[in-house]
Amino acid sequence: MSLPLHFPLVLAAALFALGAYAVVARRNGVLVLMGVELMLNAVNLNLVSFWAYLRDSLLAGQVFALFVVAVAAAEVGVGLAIVILLFRTRETASFEEADLFRW
């Protein structure tokens, strides 16, 4: 049982692109964060696929992915806090309205 290496890689690329779209195109801060999560998942999918392909003794791909999950958790935490802070000061969670700096 085997799988061509590039299958998951292309899937990851697609996931990454979808996440990127969400980051740019979604108004609501929380939805933007979801996009970021998708991008990070794409990364993890890459890492795991390569690990499965390489089977390196250090399990580097898996460990890396694990750390990415941890960091992603931290970032979501901070990100949500910022969204809440923004909401508190501006009464909106829309990133589009965060535009105090103009020049």
Binding site: L9, M39, N46, F64, F67, G79, V83, L85, R90, F101
Partner: protein
């Protein structure tokens, strides 16, 4: 495999120091005044840094641990020393420049955490460690930028920093994942070998470029710079100082490790891009800085332009072993000289903000006459940033010119020279504002810690001409030890 804790002592000391600050601060009874808490937290922070400094000072080179993932060579020790000094100055600036509503325990904890990440960056020789170090340096900084809680713009500053940061991090991670797959390892030494074996592959190149994007964000290179002006402007001034100096340097430390070490074999592919980024970054920063009326924002664009200058040596990689070494030296020296001037400038801005409540040109009106000390120092910082002799900035630029010309990239040197001329306009504009109009307010009250920070920076900026070797001779030309 044994872990050599003494090699890791510096980041561990600072990281633990941060936790201690947090704990001690929370243990203090709420009756203790904010000012006193601030002094306590800053004191512990400085002590932790001093301890780390002591470790850095006695570390032998080259040392390595974690299976070659963490290397102490003169490059990493120089930068660790740099981060500790810069951090200490930021602590001093924060002591004098932070608003009273900022919780000191949390603030200094976050600062030290970020610093811990930075201390790790130059020593990292492994993608994973590099990534974690960069994130550890960044994430607390996202929070720090938002700490001016009464100001809606602070939240926005934080948001912009955060979002561009995570997107860049995602791009970088994507690149790292590919790189791992390509080289079969996250170790930079293995990656260097893999790059050398087959540099001409789109997959590899895309991976390299993506990894560099993450650092391009940290150094605020175009087109990853957009966050910088908004964030600097909205963040508390000491945080802006921290970002513009320490965070940027961390980015350059990472880039240097990658460019001079891991990706060196493919320099023929990425160096032109770095050159282009360098030119565009410095030009854009300078031109846009011309139009700023807010000193912090002006300094932000200025620091973008300065990043362009600092990218230049990286664009010279791969033109010969000798010039590689000189390029790295030039970069490291420029970073230090730039840091002195920029930290000093932000310290002055911080003092002005405390006194005037704003940082527009009008707030600097007549500063030179109200406080000759701040006026002279700020003038020196700006003139140094402009690169006019005899101040330190000139020597930094000179070194970059020299190595650029030596590497045959005369056009880059010329572009940089022209940019330096353009930059004079806006630096002088601030100087003009400080000295020419009649002062609008009374004398300045200056906190001792700010005075100390300004004095230290001024000493470096003004004194370097007398003994340039003190700094210029410090990093040997071949600093990156190959594992």
């Amino acid at each position: 495999m044994k872990v050599d804790l003494s090699a890791l002592a510096a980041p561990l000391a600072v990281g633990s120091g941060g936790v201690v600050v947090l704990v001690v601060d929370s243990l203090l009874p709420s009756s203790v005044l904010r000012a006193a808490r601030r002094w306590v937290a800053a004191g512990i922070s400085l002590a932790a840094m001093a301890l780390a400094g002591w470790f850095v000072g006695r570390a032998g080179t080259p040392g390595e641990t974690l299976g070659g993932a963490y290397v102490l060579d003169s490059f990493s020790l120089y930068l660790q020393g740099f981060f500790l000094v810069a951090g200490a100055v930021v602590v001093l600036v924060s002591l004098g420049g932070l608003g009273d509503e900022t919780p000191p325990g949390e603030f200094f904890f976050l600062l030290l955490t970020s610093l811990t990440g930075m201390l790790t960056v130059p020593a990292s020789r492994d993608l994973l460690l590099l990534f974690i170090a960069v994130e550890t340096a960044s994430a607390p900084a996202f929070v720090l930028a938002g700490l001016e809680r009464k100001d809606a713009r602070s939240a926005e500053a934080s948001l912009k920093f955060f979002l561009v940061g995570v997107v860049s991090a995602a791009i970088m991670l994507f690149g790292m994942s590919w790189l791992y797959g390509w080289a079969g390892s996250t170790g930079l030494a293995e990656i260097a070998r893999a790059v050398g074996a087959r540099p001409r592959d789109p997959f590899l190149l895309a991976a390299l470029f993506f990894v560099m994007v993450g650092f391009g964000f940290k150094v605020s290179a175009v087109p990853f710079h957009f966050w910088a002006p908004d964030t600097y402007e909205g963040a508390p001034v000491p945080v802006a100082a921290f970002l513009s100096v320490a965070s940027k340097t961390a980015g350059f430390a990472g880039l240097a490790v990658l460019c001079f070490f891991a990706f060196q074999a493919a320099a023929g592919f990425w160096a032109p891009l770095v050159a282009a980024a360098s030119v565009v970054t410095m030009s854009l920063g300078n031109v846009v800085a011309l139009w700023q009326r807010n000193v912090v924002r002006m300094l932000a664009y200025s620091s973008i332009a300065q990043a362009g200058y600092m990218l230049l040596p990286l664009a010279l990689v791969g033109r010969g072993e000798a010039t590689d070494g000189q390029a790295l030296s030039a970069l490291l020296l420029y970073v230090a000289i730039y840091a002195a001037a920029n930290l000093g400038a932000f310290a002055v801005v911080s003092a002005v903000k405390r006194q005037e409540g704003g940082v527009f040109f009008s707030d600097f009106s007549g500063l030179g006459r109200r406080s000759p000390f701040l006026g002279v120092a700020m003038t020196a910082f700006l003139v140094s940033l402009a690169g006019i002799p005899p101040l330190a900035g000139f020597f930094g630029k000179l070194l970059i010119f020299l190595v650029a010309i030596r590497s045959g990239a005369v056009w880059l040197a010329v572009v940089m020279v022209l940019n330096s001329v353009v930059s004079i306009f806006y630096y002088v504009a601030v100087a003009k504002e400080m000295w020419l109009p009649e002062p609008a307010g009374g004398a300045f009250r200056l906190s001792p810690s700010l005075a100390l920070a300004v004095s230290a920076a001024a000493l470096v900026v003004m004194g370097l001409v007398l003994w340039p070797d003190a700094l210029l001779a410090l990093p040997p030309s071949a600093v990156l030890a190959s594992p």
